[in-house]
């Protein structure tokens, strides 16, 4: 599939049958206040297609028992399906081994795992952790908690006014105290795609491991952790058409093995006496207690669904969507697009002159249009652009060009009401 560069309803759009895809998503048939739902809050959470719902129903009706515990049929089936899900996720991100994929409750949980399991063991007083202005709070707060506890320092990569990281500044932040880098692959507030491969290479040349928060990247592009050579990569199922309560942490086996466990309990141990506990091998060392089995299976069904459509097709189609939306918004008077990076995914943050984002959100909702208004859990980004909040339309491959048009006319209505 060739990427088409021109912006207005180009060729790739017609090759990608969005109307057909939409029929897989029962929720898209909803009416809000009599208006068809226009769901543009995909960066917060995406919707679930019927095959994923069906897969979870099948598990729950025919395959459920606890895993890794009993010899009976259902327990074995559930264990097999759970481990098969891990294998599919491994393939989805091209990890080299199954045991490098740890199921977590989501991205937040995964980052906390690394801050605890790696951070508490290998980062100490006076050591420095590099983060960026574009981070979601979930890739800030766990590190701040660590720093507060052990006296480590946090250094922050600044951004420019298009919402791109200043890579020269990033490079200058490194010194002999630098022990860790945490960077988001894609900014949730602005859609900026960061040059993480280059950033990882630079950090590795200085012996510094890198965690990539992929929560906003994995839904939109093919991820290859071996090609990126990242040390940790994480994302959440609910942003990839899967269920909530599940995500993965990818980590290089050598690192995961050296880390301390995060949570203690069943399944994460090899043996327990009151004198001493020996921990299980990875990935089980990091999966204490009964995991969300149905969610893990739903998650893998979701990535199967996305893979069947093809991640490159999704990326190409979404590029058409964002180009079309941006092109229209750019020419509207009184609209300011916030975040205009050269490389970005289908996220459009904007401001309307003289109208508070919350009023925009409420009025668009009246048109059936779901957008997010607020600081998007990325207050440092808001501070850079000197706004308390923005309105964010975030697209998925099941959004249509007609929905972009609905957004545009919704915005015009808001402007008219406030004129």
């Amino acid at each position: 599939m060739k990427l088409v560069e021109s912006s207005l309803k180009p060729l790739s759009t017609s090759m990608f049958n969005v109307e057909h895809i939409r029929t897989d998503f029962p929720i898209l048939k909803l009416k809000i206040d009599g208006k068809p739902l226009v769901y543009l809050d995909n960066a917060a959470s995406s919707q679930m297609p019927q095959p994923v719902i069906d897969r979870m129903v099948k598990y729950q009706t025919m395959q459920h028992a606890n895993i890794n515990r009993a010899v009976h049929y259902l327990s074995e089936t559930a264990t097999t399906e759970y481990e098969e899900s891990r294998r599919r996720l491994k393939r989805f991100i091209n990890a080299s081994e199954d045991r490098e994929v740890i199921f977590t409750s989501g991205t937040t949980d995964a980052i906390n795992l690394v801050a605890h399991g790696y951070g508490r063991k290998f980062i100490g007083s006076g050591d420095e952790i590099i983060l960026t202005t574009l981070e979601h709070h979930s890739n800030i707060v766990p590190w701040q908690m660590l720093a507060e506890e052990n006296g480590a320092k946090i250094r922050v990569v600044p951004i420019n006014d298009t919402g791109e990281l200043l890579i020269e500044k990033y490079k200058q932040l490194f010194n002999k105290h630098t022990k860790f880098v945490g960077v988001t692959h894609v900014s949730n507030a602005l859609g900026t795609v960061n040059p993480i491969k280059q950033m990882i290479e630079f950090a590795h040349a200085r012996g510094v491991p890198v965690l990539v928060d992929g929560a906003q990247a994995a839904p939109h592009m093919k991820i290859d952790v071996q090609d990126l050579d990242c040390d940790f990569y994480t994302f959440s199922g609910h942003k990839l058409c899967g269920p909530t309560g599940i995500g993965i942490l990818y980590g290089k086996a050598a690192l995961l093995e050296r880390m301390q466990p995060f949570k203690g309990g069943g399944d994460m141990i090899a043996s327990v006496t009151f004198e001493k506990t020996t921990y299980n091998t990875i990935p089980h060392k990091f999966e204490a207690g009964t995991p969300p089995i149905a969610a893990a299976i739903g998650f893998s069904a979701a990535i199967d669904y996305l893979s069947a459509i093809n991640m490159s097709m999704i990326a190409a189609y979404e590029r058409d969507l964002i180009n079309y939306a941006t092109e229209q918004m750019r020419h509207m008077p009184g609209i300011r697009i916030i975040g205009d990076a050269t490389e970005k995914v289908a996220v459009l943050s904007f401001a309307i002159d003289g109208v508070h984002p919350h009023d925009i959100g409420t009025l668009l909702n009246q048109e059936g249009i779901a957008v997010r208004t607020g600081h998007h859990c990325a207050q440092p980004v808001m501070q850079h652009f000197k706004v308390p909040a923005t309105t964010r339309a975030s697209f998925a491959f099941y959004n249509s060009m007609n929905e972009v048009d609905a957004l545009i006319s919704g915005i015009q209505k808001v402007q008219k009401i406030f004129s």
Binding site: D33, H356, H358, D359, T362, N365, Q366, G374, P388, I417
Partner: protein, 160 residues
């Protein structure tokens, strides 16, 4: 849902041309109100003499609902006794959370243009913040936040 009737001309007008907007030199009561969830904040200054609110102003950055609510509030409580203002605060709050019927028995008058807010739980705090801040000023509390645990109204508003 009743959003259409919420963004009606009265509210849009008070948002565009807020009444009693600005500063007050001889204020003897004031309070700051914040909604950390959306960054909205406003400041209320008033003069309370012999039990009457003789003058009141507000200033701040907020959404249209909050600003119009503040504007109409100041217009309504100016010249009233503290006790009457407290009654309005109570009634407005109850209307916003759906506990008071706009066409029932109350003293809110045109403030019932805000009654549609009860169908928008995420916006209730926007409408209540000014009232909330007025309550704090009258009771000599310097700052309040919609998210404080000891906020006098937070408990009953819950997570609205």
């Amino acid at each position: 849902m009743n959003t259409k009737s919420l963004y009606q001309e009265v509210i849009l007008d008070h948002n565009r041309n807020p009444r009693n907007y600005g500063s007050l030199d001889n204020a003897n009561r004031s309070a700051e109100g914040h909604n950390p969830l959306c960054g909205d904040h406003l400041n209320i200054k008033l003069n309370l003499s012999r039990g009457y609110i003789s003058d009141i102003v507000f200033q701040g950055e907020s959404c249209a609902i909050c600003k119009a609510s503040a504007s109409m509030m100041t217009a309504n409580v100016k010249g009233k006794t503290q006790a009457d203002a407290e009654t309005l605060i109570q009634e407005f709050r109850e209307m916003a959370i759906g506990k008071l019927e706009p066409d029932g028995n109350h003293h809110l008058g045109r403030l019932t243009v805000f009654s549609g807010i009860r169908d928008l739980p995420t916006r209730v705090k926007c409408a209540i913040l000014p009232w909330h801040t007025l309550h704090a000023a009258l009771n000599s509390v310097a700052t309040i936040s919609t998210e404080d645990d000891d906020d006098p109204m937070h408990v009953s508003i819950g997570n609205a």
